[in-house]
Amino acid sequence: MAVLGQTAGGDAVGSYACAAMSELRRKGPDDADHPAETPAKPERPGERPDMEIRSADQNPDWPVDRRKVTAAQRYYSDLVKQMGDAPPIGETGVVYVRDWSTGESLDHRHRMGRDDRTEPGDSNVEPGSPDAADPPEEAPSLPYLDASAFHDADDGWDDVVAPTDDHALPDADGRTDDDLRTAIGVPEELGPDSARSTSMDISEVRDQIAKSDSRRPPDFDRDNSRLEARTVERTDEGWYDRLEGPEPSNYESRFKNFRAKYAQKSNGIGNMVHDSVDNLKGLFSHPPTHESVGHVPPAPDMPAPLHGAHTAGDLASGVVAGAFAVSALTRMMQDKLENRKDRHGDNG
């Protein structure tokens, strides 16, 4: 079972998204009331990770991601207000991921809405720092994600990394995230991680305000406890700009751009291209789809998805929806609380 998702941010929204994704994976897309019997669990350490998280911070050239964060936060806060059923703010959301781009195992532990970063083991802490928790002898039992999938004997808990904590610092103009959070209207209870916007230009913040004031969020599907991510992306152009570039018919300039790059290629690239043939075969393993982001059945060399489970493509496309799946998240957090009580007693 391989689940791959990309979140707009690595922090609070990422936690929401991951939690909701795992919930969706467990329960399936169309049968939310009939959960799969068992959570996904890779067969052995080091097996393909269940989830890939790549935060906007790792690719600062994609400012749209940051807007997605903001949009998600606004939707989320709106939904909480509408439903009057906020998730347990302050509870720790635990997400275990491996970053495929770096190969690092990440241990994301986030307080939902608050991040005081003072409680070892429950906050994001730098490995080796005085605040770092001792590695547990056994991976903790999680309701839906098994930590052993992401922490094997070789690169396990020692590789725990934490996102930077620089959002508390003022930017070049003296604005802190709190300032920007206030500017874009993120509720206080969503905490400092909810507005990691230090690189967001103030004009972009104003843009956000203007757009959010003039456009309605997509309707929340209360029955299915999820939103349609594509509605967010495709029908509300104000949230995501379409790609702009040269006239579509002007291919030459783009080709010249590539050709200049090809001039730097190594002598062995011809062989590398040829050697890629086996890799390319797997790309034909799926029936064609005409959807830009659509359902992608698992490849033959991957374990079959569990009953009712999403495929990787579903989750990649549904991550925004996952971020907004408030009631699903609430259920998960309630389950998590129960789980912790079971393991640690009422003080856990």
Binding site: A2, L4, G5, R48, E52, Q58, N59, D61, W62, V64, D65, W100, S101, E233, R234, Y240, D241, R242, L243, G245, P246, Y251, E252, S253, R254, F255, K256, N257, F258, R259, K261, Y262, Q264, K265, S266, I269, G270, M272, V273, H274, S276, V277, N279, L280, G282, L283, F284, S285, P288, T289, H290, S292, V293, V296, A299, D301, M302, A312, G313, A316
Partner: protein, 144 residues
């Protein structure tokens, strides 16, 4: 140098998923034609990206597509650096600079994503031929 029929035929087999035929043709392929072959990949990649992501494509669409392709097989995940994959797709559509990217990684990402797009789009043999013909024309015009 103009694109040759051999270069077109070789790429056609890859885009059609005819890998046994690819191996046969590659064995006879004049390896000195590799440069032109890579250029043909690049031009075809631009056209395929246009087909896939125009007119309504967004940056998140690109992110998701690359993630989708990488999720298909372990080999794909290992072969395509997500950041490079996203950026070469963006460069194909918007001409954004890719000066800082490794050339070999760019070429490999383009080949994988090109094949992924043609597979995902379910292009017919005639559509692939039309794509290749147009790409060949672009390369020849720029190189002439």
């Amino acid at each position: 140098m103009a694109i040759t029929d051999d270069q077109v035929a070789l790429l056609r087999t890859q885009l059609r998923g005819e890998f046994a035929e690819y191996e046969r043709l590659y064995a006879e392929f004049d390896k000195s034609q590799t440069d032109g072959y890579i250029e043909l990949i690049g031009a075809t990649f631009i056209l395929a990206a246009e087909r896939r992501f125009r007119p309504n494509g967004t940056r998140p669409d690109i992110i998701m597509f690359v993630a989708e392709v990488r999720s298909k097989t372990r080999a794909a995940a290992e072969s395509i650096d997500p950041k490079i994959g996203e950026r070469v797709l963006l460069a194909a559509l918007t001409n954004e600079p890719i000066d800082d990217l490794d050339a070999d990684a760019v070429i490999l990402a383009q080949l994988h994503l090109l094949v992924a797009i043609t597979a995902a789009e379910g292009l017919s043999a005639s559509e692939i031929d039309a794509l290749l013909a147009k790409a060949r024309d672009i390369v020849d015009r720029v190189n002439s």
